[in-house]
Structures are given as structure tokens and as C-alpha cells.
């Protein structure tokens, strides 16, 4: 790695390697589909990759597949197909893109995904449950809700030793123990606890590194754009969780970010405004959406998306390998709960983020497709504005459906937001004189 640092190739390595890993992942999925191997369908909030990897299952993330159709500008074809099948325009676009994917035999712009052999998912998003019921009907496969209770009220999280936490942990641990024989039956492979220890070791390394990467973006200038670069990192954080490749990728990423921090290399040539993004990206115009901010000197230093879409890996939970099942239960409980908190109870999280990342503004992006993330954002904004004197922007569009994305309207609002940021800065400068 030292050589890479000397010749400068370390900068941008994370994006390059992330893209390569992503291609490799889809090549493997396509190969699995062509061999008619069945996959484990999972979601980003509580994927249980640590356990599923031990059963040699190809891991399929339908959310990631669906967002890729939007990034590659073909989502409308998939959405139309699912709506023709009977699904309402008013439901989650990810679900509909996946329905169409299944109707097309797994064909996607990036390759072909295997059919499901099992679906394992949490309740972090209720749509996960409804979504898996569709596969259950289509394929008659086992579906397993690994129910992870979340925070009951703002600021009331409990921790190991508390009776309520222990009640939740016993429930999660019992479900993991019930899932294992189902996986054995589906794959014909016996459970190997040492393999689990190995994948958990990789997950520990990834979690530590991911947490560090996020912290490093407190640097000024910021080292990566949480929206554009961050989404690449998320792809690896999910697709390669519990693998040596995933752990190694994030350790390299830490090295890259530490190098950039030491050298003062920012993601923008001239960073004018440090922003926080709340919500889900606008994938139908993904690159352009980011440019609407970066062209005006704004960069996203952090986002709730990097928290919840990594399944709460941002907390960097470290599994105890002496007691893998109980520790997996605790880790899932703490991490998935944190993912849910960053969607539902995010006022304190955002206030702390504003302080630690020296943010100049907060951009809320509620979307039509996702009520999990979007329902409470307007109210959260009111609440956050009472806690912190910081400008905010509230723009609605979608993560999948270009019919509800108006670039011109977004640009108008974003331009006005930046004018406000500039004016505020000028007034502050006048006051200081």
C-alpha cells in the first residue's frame, strides 16, 4: 500500500475497487443463475450475511438490484410491467422493479440474478415483509422474518443487562436458532459454527473500518461525498458483508481516507458548504442530483442513508466470537435498531451530526416510494430546527419513479437554498466585523 500512496493511485481507489467488486458480485450472481443455483434474498437492514455466507448461498439484495435499474435509467420499464401485473402506482418502487425482474426471469441491466431459495429479512422496513410474501407466492420458498424489535420511544434505548433488552435478545437469539435448521434444509449443508466465527471476524473488521471511514469525513475539506461515493461504499458494505474481500476493501478505504485527510485532499476542489443528507437518494437522476449541489460548492459530509442502508454497521458492533449466536443476536439487535433510529428517531442523531461534522445545512429528501424513511421527515425538520440554528432544504421526489422527479423544480429549490446559505454566511461575516 505504501507504493500506492507514493504514486498517488490510492486516491479514488475505493471507488474503483468498489465498482470492480460490484461487477464481480453480479458476475457471480449471473453464473449462479445460469447454473440454476438458488439464492438467499435479503435486505440491507439486517441481511444476516454473516450466517448466510456460511451456507455458501449466493446473496441477492433486491433493493440494490432495483435501485440499479433507476441509476441505469430503465426503472420505468420495470415499474410499468409491475403495474400492468396489478401493483398500484402508490407502492414502493423497489418492490415493483423486483416483481418485474422476477417476471423477466431475473434479468437486470447488470446481469441475471438467481431465483430465490429462501428469503431472510427483518422488520426494519415493513415492506420487506410484504415483499417476501410475493416471493413466497411466486416460488413457494421458505421465508423467514427475523423480527428485530426497535426503539420504543425516543431516547429510551436499553442495553445488555436491562430486562427489556434481554427480552428482545432472547427473542432474536431464538429466531436465529430456528433459522439455522431451515438453512440446513434449504442448502443441504450442515451448520458450521467455526465458519460463522470466520464471517463474523470479517464483519467485525468491516464494521470497525466503516465506522472509521464515516468519522474521517469530519475532516475539512471532506474526503468523500456521502451521497455519491457513499453509495458505492454501501454496495460493498452490503454485498460483501462477512467476507474477506469486504473486510479488506474497507481497511483499504480507511487507508485511503487517512491519506486524503493527512494530505488535505477533499472531494471538491473548493468546498464551500458542508451538508447533511436525510432520506434516500434520487436514483433516477443520481449523478445529476449530486451535481446540483456540488456545482455550487456543496458536498454531503454525512447522511442518515449511510447509517440505515448499511444496516446500522455505522455503530461498528464487534461480535464476541466466544459466543457467536448470542453475540450475533445482540449485534443484530443493536445495529438494526440503530438503523431504524436513524429513520424514525433521528433528531438527536442529526443534531450531533451537525456538530461533529460542522455542517452548514441539512437537506431532507423524502420520496414517494418509501414511507419508512419519509413519513416523519417534515416533523423531524421542525424539531431539528428548534434544536439547531441551521438552514434546511426539503425537496420531494422519488428513488425509482422518474414520473415524480422534476429536475427543473429541484434545481430551483436547490439554487434558492444555496443563495440562502451564501446570504447567511455574508450576514455572519458582517456581524463579526
Amino acid at each position: 500500500m505504501a507504493d500506492a500512496t507514493v504514486d498517488g493511485t490510492i486516491v479514488g481507489r475505493g471507488n474503483k475497487d468498489g465498482a470492480a467488486l460490484f461487477r464481480q458480485w453480479f458476475e457471480e450472481l449471473t453464473a449462479a443463475a445460469s447454473e440454476d443455483r438458488r439464492g438467499a434474498y435479503v435486505f440491507v437492514m439486517g441481511s444476516f450475511c454473516e450466517l448466510l455466507q456460511t451456507f455458501d448461498l449466493p446473496i441477492v439484495f433486491p433493493e440494490i438490484n432495483s435501485l440499479q435499474t433507476a441509476v441505469r435509467r430503465v426503472a420505468h420499464e420495470y415499474l410499468n410491467e409491475a403495474e400492468d401485473y396489478g401493483y398500484s402506482p402508490d407502492i414502493c418502487g423497489y418492490v415493483k422493479a423486483d416483481v418485474a425482474t422476477q417476471l423477466r426471469g431475473g434479468e437486470l441491466p447488470m446481469g441475471r440474478i438467481p431465483k430465490p431459495g429462501i428469503a431472510v429479512y427483518t422488520n426494519a422496513c415493513n415492506t420487506y415483509i410484504k415483499w417476501a410474501e410475493i416471493w413466497e407466492r411466486m416460488y413457494g420458498i421458505p421465508t423467514f422474518v427475523l423480527d428485530v424489535p426497535g426503539t420504543r420511544a425516543a431516547g429510551t434505548q436499553t442495553w445488555p443487562g436491562h430486562p427489556d433488552f434481554e427480552n428482545d435478545r432472547r427473542y432474536v437469539a431464538a429466531q436465529i436458532r430456528e433459522l439455522i435448521p431451515v438453512l440446513e434444509r434449504v442448502t443441504g449443508i450442515g451448520f458450521d459454527i467455526d465458519k460463522l466465527r470466520e464471517t463474523m471476524t470479517h464483519a467485525n473488521a468491516m464494521g470497525r473500518a466503516w465506522r472509521r471511514v464515516l468519522e474521517l469525513n469530519q475532516s475539512r475539506p471532506s474526503l468523500f461525498n456521502a451521497l455519491s461515493d457513499g453509495t458505492i461504499y454501501l454496495g460493498v458494505a452490503n454485498g460483501f458483508r462477512g467476507t474477506a474481500a469486504g473486510a479488506s476493501y474497507f481497511e483499504d478505504l480507511v487507508e485511503e481516507m487517512e491519506f486524503k485527510a493527512a494530505e488535505g485532499i477533499g472531494t471538491l476542489t473548493e468546498e464551500l458548504y458542508r451538508l447533511i443528507f436525510v432520506g434516500v437518494p434520487c436514483y433516477p437522476i443520481f449523478r445529476r442530483f449530486t451535481e446540483l449541489f456540488t456545482e455550487l460548492g456543496g458536498t454531503f459530509v454525512n447522511s442518515t442513508y449511510l447509517w440505515f442502508a448499511s444496516g446500522g454497521s455505522n455503530v461498528g458492533f464487534q461480535y464476541d466470537l466466544e459466543d457467536p449466536i448470542e453475540s450475533l443476536a445482540e449485534g443484530v439487535l443493536v445495529s438494526v435498531r440503530d438503523a431504524m433510529d436513524s429513520m424514525f428517531f433521528q433528531t438527536t442523531i442529526l443534531a450531533e451530526m451537525i456538530d461533529s461534522f460542522a455542517a452548514d445545512g441539512v437537506v431532507y429528501h423524502p420520496i414517494k416510494s418509501c414511507r419508512t424513511v419519509s413519513t416523519g421527515l417534515a416533523d423531524n425538520r421542525r424539531s431539528l430546527m428548534k434544536e439547531r440554528d441551521i438552514p434546511s432544504l426539503f425537496i420531494e421526489s422519488d428513488m425509482m419513479d422518474k414520473r415524480v422527479v422534476s429536475e427543473a423544480q429541484l434545481k430551483n429549490r436547490i439554487d434558492a437554498f444555496f443563495e440562502g446559505l451564501e446570504s447567511r454566511r455574508q450576514q455572519a461575516a458582517i456581524r463579526q466585523k
Partner: protein
């Protein structure tokens, strides 16, 4: 007219007296008025007399726990009103019930000591946070298990109910003992039995109870003490049976899609003009548990077990033993219905998703169905009524 009694929950007077000593039509009129009244006068009376209120959002809440603490469990099921203040707390693309339920509280039409929501859908689970940012009283999520098939689910839920019990104790300022809970289970067991009787009448002699009357009689349970609801049902059910009514040549239908947001009463009335609604999932949470909860043993465990093992179905509970489309077919067969009205509230993700499974199953089984969407605040039914009449005529003259 008002008989002063001290009920088990310590409140000296009844909160709904208008119906007493009245003929059946007047009783039903007062029930309709109350169910449609967004000012919740019965809740106000309860509070005026020193009572405390736990507001619980749809679909199911173990009301016995609040009742055992002497509090009024109030079912929050939205309202037909303009969400003038609540609108600014939410984004677009959401169902109406979220907004109007919050509006009831923001406009102080209802006042609570505690609010509970559930992870029934992605929107509703946000409510604990939204309410918590707007009110000082405890606002929380009750995590009903979504893995109903886990052997540990009942034990987990027992622990979760115990957590709610402790929260309720703190607000009520008194302990909730096992005997308190058993007393409440008994009250609710009677209530469930009376509601089963009402629904039995809908199925067997639907000409004796219209869809809207059955609906308001059920809905009353969510807004008055259960003892009073029991008194009301005990008085009304025999009157309904004695009512001179003749069977008419109407299609027998099951109405599906009212598990959370409620259709306006006018819509239920409009459907009732064309069909006999012989079963439905309206306010299913009040009828979730299908039989008596045993009084022996651990009351919280019994209540938790009943939720999982002896319960109805809805699109927002996942249970591998209860595929929703099979359950709908069972409901249709059990009610000897000829057709189904498959509705969903606008922007209701689980309801809209389930419509696809329902209609495919109905197609497969050759059961005629009518698909529609509704909103609690809709005021025009002409178009829908014409469509429905056409659907019914097609069946009648097939």
C-alpha cells in the same frame, strides 16, 4: 335516565347515556352520531371525571392492560376532518388516517396520557416519533411480533406486554396486579362474545342488521369503557333480533380492506344499499382475538398467546399459517358470501399490495369481486355507487 354506578374501573358515571331508554332506531342514531363526531364527547366526559386515556393507533392493542390500570383505551382510527395542523408534520404520499389521527390530538379534540402505535406499516411506525416530538406525554411503539411462527414469540410478547404494563402503571399511579388483569380479561371476553354474536347476525340474518349499524355498534367499543359497550350490546342485540325485517334479494358480500383506515360511514351505507355485507375486516383489531382468553394462569402470557394463536388476520400481520388470500377465501366461505369487495385506503401500502394477492386468488377460485380504493374524507360516492350497482346487477342477472 342516568343510573349512577361505580364500575370496576373506578369511574363513577357512565360516559354514554344518550341511548338509554330509547327505541332501537334512536339508539342506533346516537351511536352513529357519536362514531362520526370528531370531538369524542365520551372521551371528554371520561376525562372531566378524572379518567386517564391511552390512545392506541390501529390495528390491535391489548386494551386489557390499559383497562386494568383504570384507564380508557381509546382506539385512534382517524376522523373525517381536515388535517390543517397535522399536514405540516407529514410529507405527501401518505394515507389520511395518519394525518387525521394526529390532527385530533393537535387540535385538542382528544387529550391523552399516553400514545401507542405499532409497526403495522412503514408509515404508522413513524407515529411514535412524530407524536413524541409534539406532545409531552409518553409516546411509544408496541412491538407486536412479526415472526408469529417463532416458538419464542408468545414469551417475547408476554415480556413486551409486561413492559407496557409497567408504563401504564406509572401513568395510572397504581400497580396493575394479575387480578386486575384477570378482571379486565373477563370484561373483554364478554365484549368479544357479544361482538361475535353481532357478526353472527350479519352472517346469518343480515337483513336484521345493516352494514352501517353493525359498524357503529362495533366502533363504539373503541371510544367508551368496555363495560358500557357490553351494556349497549346486551341491550341492542335482542332488539335487533326482534326488529321486523324481511330478507331481500341482495347479493351477499364480504368487505375487505378496512383493517386500518376506515371508510366513511356514507360509503358503508352506500354499499349496504346494494348488498348484504355478511362479513368484513372493519376495525378488525377490536375483534382480533377469536375466543375467550383463559383467566387461569399468567394473564399476560394468555393474552399474548391469544394474539398469536387464536386470532384473525390482516395484511399487517405476517403468519405463515395464515396466508391472507386463503384467509379471505375462508372468510367468504364462512359467511356464505357470493362476492367480495376488495378495497384499500388510498396510499395504504400493505392494503394495496394485498389487493394483488386477493384478486388473483379470487380469480383462481372464480369468486366475483369489486376492486376499489377509498379515503376516510371522501364525500362523493355517486360514481362508486353506480359501479357497485352495475357489479351487483351483473351478478343478480347472471
Amino acid at each position: 335516565m342516568t343510573t349512577k354506578v361505580t364500575m370496576d374501573n373506578g369511574i363513577a358515571e357512565r360516559v354514554f347515556t344518550e341511548w338509554r331508554d330509547q327505541p332501537l332506531d334512536e339508539v342506533l342514531y346516537h351511536c352513529r352520531e357519536l362514531v362520526e363526531d370528531p370531538d369524542y364527547p365520551t372521551v371528554r366526559r371520561w376525562r372531566d371525571r378524572g379518567g386517564k386515556v391511552v390512545g392506541h393507533f390501529q390495528v390491535y392493542f391489548p386494551e386489557e392492560i390499559a383497562h386494568a390500570a383504570g384507564m380508557l383505551p381509546l382506539k385512534l382510527r382517524g376522523a373525517t376532518l381536515e388535517a390543517t395542523q397535522a399536514d405540516s408534520r407529514f410529507g405527501s404520499y401518505l394515507c389520511s388516517i395518519l394525518k387525521t389521527s394526529l390532527e385530533l390530538a393537535l387540535s385538542r379534540r382528544i387529550e391523552l396520557e399516553m400514545f401507542v402505535t405499532h409497526p403495522i406499516c412503514d408509515a404508522a411506525r413513524n407515529l411514535a416519533a412524530v407524536w413524541g416530538r409534539n406532545f409531552q406525554y409518553p409516546c411509544q411503539i408496541l412491538y407486536l411480533p412479526q415472526n408469529a411462527n417463532s416458538s419464542h414469540a408468545a414469551q417475547y410478547l408476554r415480556g413486551e406486554y409486561d413492559r407496557v404494563r409497567r408504563a401504564v402503571e406509572e401513568i395510572a399511579g397504581r400497580p396493575v396486579t394479575e387480578d386486575d388483569l384477570r378482571g379486565s380479561l373477563a370484561v373483554f371476553n364478554e365484549n368479544r362474545a357479544l361482538l361475535r354474536e353481532l357478526y353472527g347476525m350479519k352472517r346469518e340474518t343480515p337483513w336484521q342488521v345493516s352494514a352501517e349499524d353493525a359498524y357503529v355498534l362495533t366502533a363504539m367499543g373503541g371510544m367508551i369503557p368496555r363495560e358500557e359497550h357490553n351494556e349497549l350490546l346486551r341491550a341492542v342485540l335482542p332488539l335487533l333480533r326482534e326488529r321486523p325485517a324481511k330478507a331481500q334479494d341482495r347479493i351477499r358480500v364480504v368487505f375487505e380492506g378496512g383493517f386500518c383506515e376506515q371508510p366513511p360511514l356514507d360509503l358503508i351505507r352506500a354499499i349496504g344499499r346494494s348488498c348484504y355485507v355478511v362479513d368484513d375486516d372493519l376495525l378488525i383489531g377490536l375483534r382480533w382475538i377469536l375466543d375467550d382468553v383463559p383467566l387461569d394462569g399468567d394473564p399476560l402470557l394468555n393474552l399474548a398467546t391469544a394474539y398469536l394463536e387464536n386470532s384473525s388476520y390482516s395484511p399487517v400481520q405476517h403468519d405463515l399459517r395464515k396466508p391472507k388470500e386463503d384467509m379471505l377465501l375462508e372468510r367468504i366461505a364462512g359467511a356464505n358470501a357470493q362476492a367480495a369487495i376488495v378495497t384499500a385506503a388510498k396510499m395504504c401500502e400493505p392494503g394495496l399490495e394485498e389487493q394483488v394477492a386477493y384478486t388473483r386468488a379470487l380469480d383462481r377460485e372464480g369468486v366475483p369481486y369489486f376492486v376499489s380504493e377509498f379515503e376516510e374524507n371522501m364525500t362523493s360516492f355517486d360514481h362508486l355507487e353506480i359501479q357497485l350497482e352495475t357489479f351487483v346487477e351483473n351478478l343478480l342477472f347472471e
